[in-house]
């Protein structure tokens, strides 16, 4: 027997937010005239406990079995009211909200009459939909008790360690042959007695000796399927090609005839195809770069045939994980050839390259052919950052760490070359972090010369025997020309090159500037829109080491929660297919951003589309795209929406 529909309508004043514009009494009276409405009331603050209790009492005493609240945006209080309805013993999905604040009173403050009419219409539509609402049961699914961390830089290392310390099983994958990321390449840090490579080394030691962590280098994610709580991830591990039985790999490196720019020194030096990334690298083993190797076989001769296998095959495997932390880091901006003279003279280098020279495990000034001591040293700020451009993909952002890093290195160069002249051609000094402003002060006192330039009038670098830098100092209004022994371009940070691949695998959006867009910049800063996927470190935006470690710990704190709970609650408002109508045209399969819909063959041989409710996020794209009305979304069925439109146009 069909139950009789009894609708309760509650019109919220929201203090004066709604009642200041809309004649709430009129809306209440209008609701009373609508079919099936048995209670229509106004409440000053419906979300208050008084308001919620009124609804609960009416459900209990008046036999209300559908509830409509006309108030603010459902984003604000839909959850509040669903909970209240549930508390009263009613299915929480027998609730509908009309947004008469954002959609009426706030946008039509000058037209109270029009706003009131619009509120009536919105209420009429919500009541029409409420009449057709069906109860929806929430469901849960079990969570695989394992965490995947993508990226072995300091953020990935910290995240792995935090999760492992909570007793969870962690798999850490790193695409490079070494762990530690960019931090492992840096020497002195701002206000830290430990150097970058020391911090990386300490973390690496803890991670690789932890019984709960499995570390896989040279490993990339190939595919991600499954759903929140049970992501099935497939990987490929590239071999190192050199077996552990090789006792003297340095001989192999020596005879290797192939030389390529060394990416670990940002191209300052050359390395062999048979190489060890850098001193102190972990794992401390040699590796063959197969993209450069010519398979000449010389290393086989010097190391022994049985210790090297140039035809070793990549290893493919897959595993399930409950949650995933993405810590894929960043890549430094590389100036284009000729940008501030870059590439035209060995004395023009980037800040990333300078960090390698200043680091204990990097090359020296002599190694790259620079005379010692240096007399005139010029830093140019904001190279590849803070672009002033209308292009939507321009790097208009501040890379945040270059000012402090530049000043840190200027002070070090001042110690190395006490009689040198050091100039900083800057646009804004942004030593924003704690203790860094002091560094700036120290630099000023030590005689470093700060010259401010405008973006519209950047320094010009030409080569006249030496690099010659011309700049208009806007503070004194003078054009200055300096012959330099070293020009350092403070290059900014860019999203990592594999961000697009990760984006398509893990279904997350990016901002126009290319960095990952988190689920909410303030409320959910370390989560991605796909549930169970989190971000740590500088894949999100330029970050320093401290911020990367903080975000890694934050992401892990979030990532372990579903695993500790053991079960995840699934999105209840998912799509579903009427298999009698569906002809498997596959439009829904094509449009689903979560790969939640697939075509399946039924027992009778018919093909139909089917939704995996674990993957469905309830976005509704498939339901609106379905050309035969076979695909419907719970609580947003065509019938309900048509009914609302009818009420809109009466």
């Amino acid at each position: 027997m069909a139950e009789s529909i009894r609708i309760g309508v509650y019109i919220c004043h929201c203090g004066i937010n709604i009642a200041g514009v809309i004649d709430v009494k009129q809306v209440v009276d209008h609701a009373k005239t609508l079919p099936n409405v048995v209670v229509s009331k106004d409440l000053v603050f419906t979300c208050s406990s008084v308001g919620q209790n009124t609804i609960i009492e009416d459900i209990k005493n008046e036999g209300i079995n559908r509830v409509v609240v006309a108030a603010c945006s459902p984003r604000m209080h839909e959850g509040t009211f669903r909970n209240a309805v549930e508390k009263a013993g009613l299915n929480p999905y027998l609730f509908e909200m009309a947004n008469i604040r954002e959609h009426s009173s706030w946008v039509h403050p000058d037209d109270p009459e029009g706003a009131t009419e619009k509120a009536k219409t919105l209420v009429r539509m919500a009541v029409a939909k409420a009449r057709l609402l069906e109860p929806i049961e929430k469901s849960t699914a079990e969570v695989t008790k394992k965490v995947l961390v993508i990226g072995g830089g300091i953020a990935g290392l910290q995240a792995s360690l935090d999760a492992a310390e909570r007793g969870l099983s962690v798999t850490l994958v790193e695409k490079l042959p070494v762990l530690g990321g960019k931090a492992a390449l840096i020497g002195d840090l701002v206000y830290s007695e430990k150097k970058g490579w020391q911090i990386a080394k300490e973390l690496i030691e803890k991670v690789v000796t932890h019984e709960n962590i499995r570390v896989l280098t040279r490993t990339t994610v190939q595919n991600v399927s499954g759903a929140f709580g049970d992501y099935r991830v497939s990987f490929v591990t590239e071999p190192r090609y050199i077996k552990e039985t090789c006792m003297h790999p340095e001989k192999g490196e020596e005879v290797c005839p192939v030389e390529v720019p060394n990416e670990y020194d940002f191209g300052l030096t050359q390395r062999k195809a048979f190489f060890k990334p850098f001193e102190g690298a972990y794992p401390p083993t040699y590796v063959i770069d197969m993209s450069a190797c010519t398979k000449c076989g010389l290393c086989l001769d010097s190391c022994g045939k049985e210790t090297i296998d140039l035809d070793a095959k990549p290893l493919e495997f897959s595993e399930e994980f409950g949650t995933i932390i993405v810590a894929a880091g960043y890549k430094p901006y590389v100036p284009t050839t000729g940008e501030y003279g870059f590439g035209n003279d060995t004395r023009i280098i980037t800040l990333s390259q300078l960090e390698r020279i200043m680091s204990e495990n990097g090359p020296s000034f002599e190694d790259i052919g620079l005379s010692n001591p240096l007399e005139n040293i010029i830093f140019i700020s904001c190279v590849g950052s803070m672009e002033e451009s209308d292009n939507t993909d321009a790097r208009t952002y501040c890379s945040r760490m270059c000012c402090s890093s530049s000043i840190k290195n200027m002070l070090k160069l001042r110690e190395l070359f006490p009689s040198s002249n050091i100039y900083f051609l800057y646009r804004d000094i942004r030593t924003y972090a704690r203790r860094e402003e002091h560094l700036y002060e120290q630099a000023s006192k030590s005689g470093i010369i700060f010259l401010k330039y405008e973006a519209s009038n950047p320094p010009e670098v030409s080569i006249n025997g030496k690099p010659s830098v011309k700049v208009l100092d806007t503070l004194v209004g003078k054009r200055i020309q300096i012959l330099a022994d070293l020009v350092v371009l403070a290059n900014g940070m860019m999203p990592p090159s594999d961000i697009l691949k990760l984006r398509s695998l893990l279904k997350f959006p990016c901002s126009p500037d290319g960095w990952v867009a988190e689920a909410h910049p303030k409320l959910r800063p370390v989560e991605l829109p796909s549930p169970g996927v989190y971000i740590a470190g500088s894949i999100q935006a330029p970050k320093d080491i401290i911020e990367s470690i903080i975000s890694a710990s934050a992401a892990t704190a979030k990532a372990v929660v579903p695993i500790i709970h053991g079960r995840v609650e699934l999105e209840p408002l998912v799509s579903y297919v009427n298999e009698d109508i569906c002809g498997a045209c596959g439009i829904c399969v094509s449009t689903c951003p979560y790969d939640a819909v697939s075509r399946v063959v039924l027992q009778d041989g018919r093909r139909v589309a089917r939704v995996n409710p674990r993957l469905c996020m309830g976005c509704g794209q498939c339901a609106s795209a379905c050309p035969s009305a076979a695909m419907q979304q719970k609580s947003f069925t065509d019938e309900q929406i048509h009914e609302m439109i009818e009420q809109l146009v009466v």
Partner: protein
């Protein structure tokens, strides 16, 4: 001998294809004639309207009406048949959805007459004459039915019990309908007597890719489609996904795209807008300008997706100030 149930066939504004489909029953038509007594069928049998008028109300068991409502005569005869029939079946796309004649709803009476009787290249008359509802000749008055501004579906002027879709309908559907009606085991009123399923199910063409991602559209004459492969996937706009089964996927069997004559499945109110959201979902272009170029590459979207259903769309017709309330 028990009296056979009476049946009637009538055509409103139509091309005659629906009548052909009845004849297409071939020798099976004998089974139909054996079971029912045809009392009115202007295309084939010499009955007059007076014969229908002389019948008692509801004397006809079932009447199949094809064609759209274009003229006052269509309305008049339809109303008469409704009065005399127990069941009315809208037969074919025109009476079901408005059909090809419904495309005239992009114009109105004035512009149609202007085009057909004055501007058509075959008109040689120096002083062309437009059809008149009344003409005086030798003291006698000749009349023609009124020509409406707007084409309507049958169920906009009379109550319709069932629909048989198609342009023209598959004759088997007619046979099944007759058998169903004779059995007395009637489906709910308003039913479309063809399965409520999406055309892709019956289509013999195969999809190669899991996801359709289109960057360009082609008209059927612009490319030679890969045999046996889904046309939509190859960029040829095919209305199969928004169309109901029943025809046996005839067009796709010869590698021509579906044009939607069977109308949509239940629950879809407007083929054109529904297909627009489906089509937009399989276009893989991010750039706005390129997207607009792609849209412009469809010469006549409304004419394409509403080829058989403009009078059934949300908009029913192109709005013209000149169109007066009829």
């Amino acid at each position: 001998m028990k009296e056979k149930p009476k049946a009637a066939f009538y055509w409103c504004s139509t091309c005659g294809g629906c009548e052909e489909s009845v004849v297409d029953l071939a020798e099976k038509i004998l089974d139909v004639v054996a079971a029912i007594d045809i009392v009115f069928w202007p295309v084939a049998l010499d009955f007059k309207l007076e014969d229908v008028e002389s019948l008692k109300d509801k004397e006809i068991a079932v009447c199949f009406i094809n064609g759209a409502i274009r003229t006052s005569e269509d309305v008049h005869v339809s109303k008469l048949l409704r009065q005399k029939s127990q069941l009315i079946v809208a037969y074919g796309s025109c009476s079901h959805l408005g059909g090809i004649p419904g495309l005239a709803n992009f114009w109105n009476k004035e512009s149609i007459f202007q085009k057909v009787y004055k501007e058509a290249p075959t008109i040689q008359d120096e002083t062309p004459i437009l059809p008149q509802e009344e003409t005086e000749i030798n003291g006698l008055t000749l009349t023609l039915p009124k020509f409406f501004n707007t084409v309507r579906r049958l169920d906009e002027v009379i109550d319709v019990d069932y629909y048989i879709p198609g342009c023209a309908p598959n004759p088997d559907l007619l046979l099944e309908a007759v058998q169903l009606i004779l059995s007395g085991n009637l489906p709910p009123k308003g039913s479309i007597l063809s399965p409520n399923r999406n055309m892709c199910e019956d289509c013999p063409l195969e999809r190669k890719e899991e996801k359709i991602q289109l960057q360009s559209f082609f008209r059927p004459f612009e490319i030679i489609p890969e045999p046996g492969r889904c046309l939509l996937e190859q960029g040829i706009i095919c209305l199969g996904p928004v169309t109901r089964v029943g025809c046996g996927a005839l067009c796709m069997k010869v590698s021509m795209p579906c044009r939607g004559c069977y109308g949509p499945t239940d629950g879809v109110q407007d083929m054109g807008t529904k297909f627009a959201s489906a089509l937009a979902s399989i276009v893989d272009i991010d750039d706005d300008q390129q997207f607009m170029k792609l849209i412009a590459s469809i010469p006549n979207y409304s004419g394409l997706v509403y080829m058989f259903s403009l009078p059934s769309s949300y908009f029913k017709r192109k709005n013209m100030e000149a169109v007066k309330n009829e």
